[in-house]
């Protein structure tokens, strides 16, 4: 879905050497970002600083140094203005389980300064838009994860914000609700002409909604730009084999083809025109069924792994996967007195 071509050159988010540190731990390190109108994906492994970045540009936490502008407002001084103009959809559940969905959305509108009547009518509109029209009077506790996410989105868009910031919008959703969520987001960009900044670690999501990406790693900017520009050009052919996979793999190897195999799926380096033919020939010889065969377009996921590996981010070295230290994850909750609630 790369249909959104409503790009204009003006920037909605701009940061200049933005730094945020929690004690010795640097969550955001000299970040220079330019986010344009339209849909942008913010990528990074768990703990790369995505959430911190969001909180900083919302003016919820004070940046240690550097400056940033959101929709032309200074993040250090004009937090209130920024927050009236954007819609923020947090990563975690941010709903009161015991309320009915429509009231939760209405209240979130009232908190923006809408009067109750307007908020109620907008809540209906927003619920309808995210596809929960029929379910709006049900208590949130009876909702599935997908419905909760949609309710959160409805809360975020009730005042028709210029920019929607969505933190992991498809986290924990099954295929269909994920599809619906992503469709809604891209619909907002394409027909609603709003901007979306979404963080995710599901590459597929970002690919489906966004045309630009920002890749963060340990608080540093790892890559930024259009997805198509960033993609690697390693060409491979992917086949799905059914039966005789081992034999086929051997045969292909004997034939001089480079094979990577993961279960039923194999990827073969696309050397020249003849490759597909050679594959089919091997299949015919071994009697393996090739259920699918197509050119494999490097996905963002591969790109991600490639870029992360460039940072020395091997899959097995778990030291690297250590998220930010505890003080960054929950800044003010030093095993707080409410330990009893833990």
């Amino acid at each position: 879905m790369y249909s959104a071509k409503t790009m204009s050159k003006d920037l909605i988010i701009e940061t200049n050497a933005l730094t945020k540190s929690y004690g010795p731990h640097v969550a955001l390190d000299q970040l220079n970002l330019e986010v344009q109108r339209g849909a942008t994906g913010l990528l990074g492994p768990n703990g790369a600083g995505k959430s911190t970045f969001f909180k900083t540009i919302l003016g919820l936490i004070q940046a240690t140094s550097g400056e940033g502008y959101v929709l032309g407002h200074d993040i250090r001084t004009e937090g209130l203005e920024i927050r009236s103009k954007i819609g923020y959809m947090p990563e975690y559940d941010a709903l009161d389980d015991d309320m009915d969905a429509i009231h939760q959305v209405r209240y979130s509108g009232e908190l923006l300064g809408m009067n109750p009547v307007v908020a109620m009518s907008r809540a209906h509109t927003a619920m309808e838009y995210v596809g929960l029209g029929e379910l709006r009077y049900r208590p949130i506790s009876s909702f599935s994860t997908g419905m909760k996410q949609a309710t959160k989105l409805a809360c975020a868009i009730i005042h028709d914000p210029e920019l929607i910031i969505a933190d992991e919008p498809s986290n924990g959703l099954d295929a269909d609700s994920r599809q619906a969520m992503l469709d809604t987001l891209s619909n907002m960009v394409n027909t609603g002409n709003r901007s979306v900044l979404m963080a995710s670690h599901l590459m597929d999501d970002v690919e489906r909604v966004c045309e630009n990406i920002v890749l963060l790693h340990k608080g540093k900017l790892a890559a930024q730009g259009r997805i198509e520009d960033l993609k690697a050009i390693d060409r491979e052919i992917e086949i799905h084999v059914w039966g005789m996979a081992n034999e086929l793999e051997q045969a292909l190897g004997k034939d001089g083809l480079e094979v990577r195999r993961e279960g039923r799926m194999m990827r073969i380096r696309h050397d020249d025109e003849k490759t597909t033919h050679r594959i089919l020939k091997c299949a015919a010889d071994t009697g393996a069924q090739i259920r699918r065969m197509h050119e494999y377009e490097a996905s963002l996921e591969d790109l991600f792994i490639v870029i992360m590996e460039r940072f020395g981010y091997g899959v097995k070295s778990s030291e690297d996967l250590l998220a930010s230290p505890a003080e960054a994850r929950k800044v003010d909750a030093p095993e707080s007195m409410g330990g009893s609630g833990a």
Binding site: G146, H294, R329
Partner: protein, 329 residues
């Protein structure tokens, strides 16, 4: 009775009859209702050996199924058997089970090593045995370099792996993983998938639930499909697909000369329809996918066709779920 053939839309794979007299996991007409809401309704199922993926949308009843199995919930109807015993109020069979709950909360204040070794001791291991055991399983899941750090500092993937490690102590025969890949970034997902595949290779019975279909596809082909608390299908992914014979399979082939290829393919009796979306694309409708694919490469190679891509849009988990839930019968 196991599995229930009367289940609507259920497809049964013959090889799945368990070898031993008591299947590892058995559900007999199990139902679970919360108030007036039915989480699971009349599921009959028996599983033994191998990696099995439990597929379903959110709220299909996957977690409920696992919790019934672990004696955390009491079935409102039917009987649950774990190694032939009823797990409700009876923790004895858990000695052979490792369970990884979906819950993201963990004991953040412990190190992974403490976490795993403490819970290993609940299997009756001594302190030293538990320590060795913890080191072994943490090494197995690839956390040995950070196992002395607080779990609170771990990323989601590492937390999942620590949970898996805690379930692996004492070498369980059955490992139950509830949404082990949820919320993990690609690196962590890859690692966890490797761990699960490894377990399957070691001959353990692994049950794993997910709603992301491509994930399961990368791990296993044995699947159970749940929808709205009902068992929709059980068995091998492809076997299930082939049982749905009344739906024509569609195969898309991209080649230089579609018409020429069509002529060669037409002779096969399993082909009952052809379509040309464009000059270089051929859509083939067939009743018998396996047989068709068996012969397809030979036809292509023998007739020197130049094929760029073969696509089988119906043969993935997602479309199967769609057929099953979409009421196509």
């Amino acid at each position: 009775m196991i599995p229930d053939l009367a289940q609507e839309g259920a497809a049964v794979e013959k090889e799945w009859v368990p070898e031993s007299q008591a299947p590892v996991v058995m559900f007999n007409n199990v139902g679970k209702t919360y108030g007036r809401y039915q989480a699971i309704g009349g599921i009959s199922l028996a599983l033994s050996g191998g990696v099995t993926g439990i597929l379903g949308l959110n709220g299909a009843g996957k977690s409920t199924l696992f919790k019934l199995l672990m004696g955390k919930l009491r079935p409102t109807q039917g009987e649950v058997r774990l190694f032939g015993t009823n797990p409700w109020k009876n923790p004895a069979p858990y000695a052979r089970v490792g369970y990884v709950p979906e819950n993201e909360n963990m004991h953040d204040w412990m190190t992974a090593f403490e976490f795993v070794s403490t819970f290993a001791r609940l299997h009756g291991l001594t302190r030293d045995e538990a320590k060795n055991e913890a080191e072994r399983v943490l090494e197995f899941v690839g956390l040995s370099d950070v196992m002395h750090k607080k779990i609170g500092r771990y990323s989601k993937g590492m937390r999942q792996r620590a949970k898996i490690a805690h379930a692996l102590v004492n070498d369980p025969d059955l490992i139950i993983l509830d949404e082990p890949l949820q919320g993990c970034d690609p690196l962590a997902r890859t690692t966890i998938m490797n761990v699960i595949r490894e377990l399957g290779r070691m001959g353990r019975t692994v049950l794993l639930s997910s709603h992301i279909l491509s994930e399961i596809e990368r791990i296993t082909e044995q699947i159970v499909i749940l929808h709205q608390g009902r068992l929709l299908a059980i068995g091998n992914l492809h076997a299930i697909r082939e049982q749905l014979d009344n739906i024509p399979h569609t195969i898309e082939i991209e080649c230089d000369d579609a018409k020429a290829l069509a002529r060669d393919v037409l002779n096969l009796e399993v082909v009952h329809g052809l379509q040309f979306p464009s000059s270089s694309k051929l859509k083939i409708f067939t009743h018998h996918l396996g047989e068709f694919h068996q012969r397809l490469p030979k036809i292509i190679v023998d007739n020197e066709h130049n094929v760029m891509a073969i696509n089988n849009p119906d043969d993935d988990l997602q479309s199967i779920l769609k057929y099953l839930t979409g009421g196509v019968r």
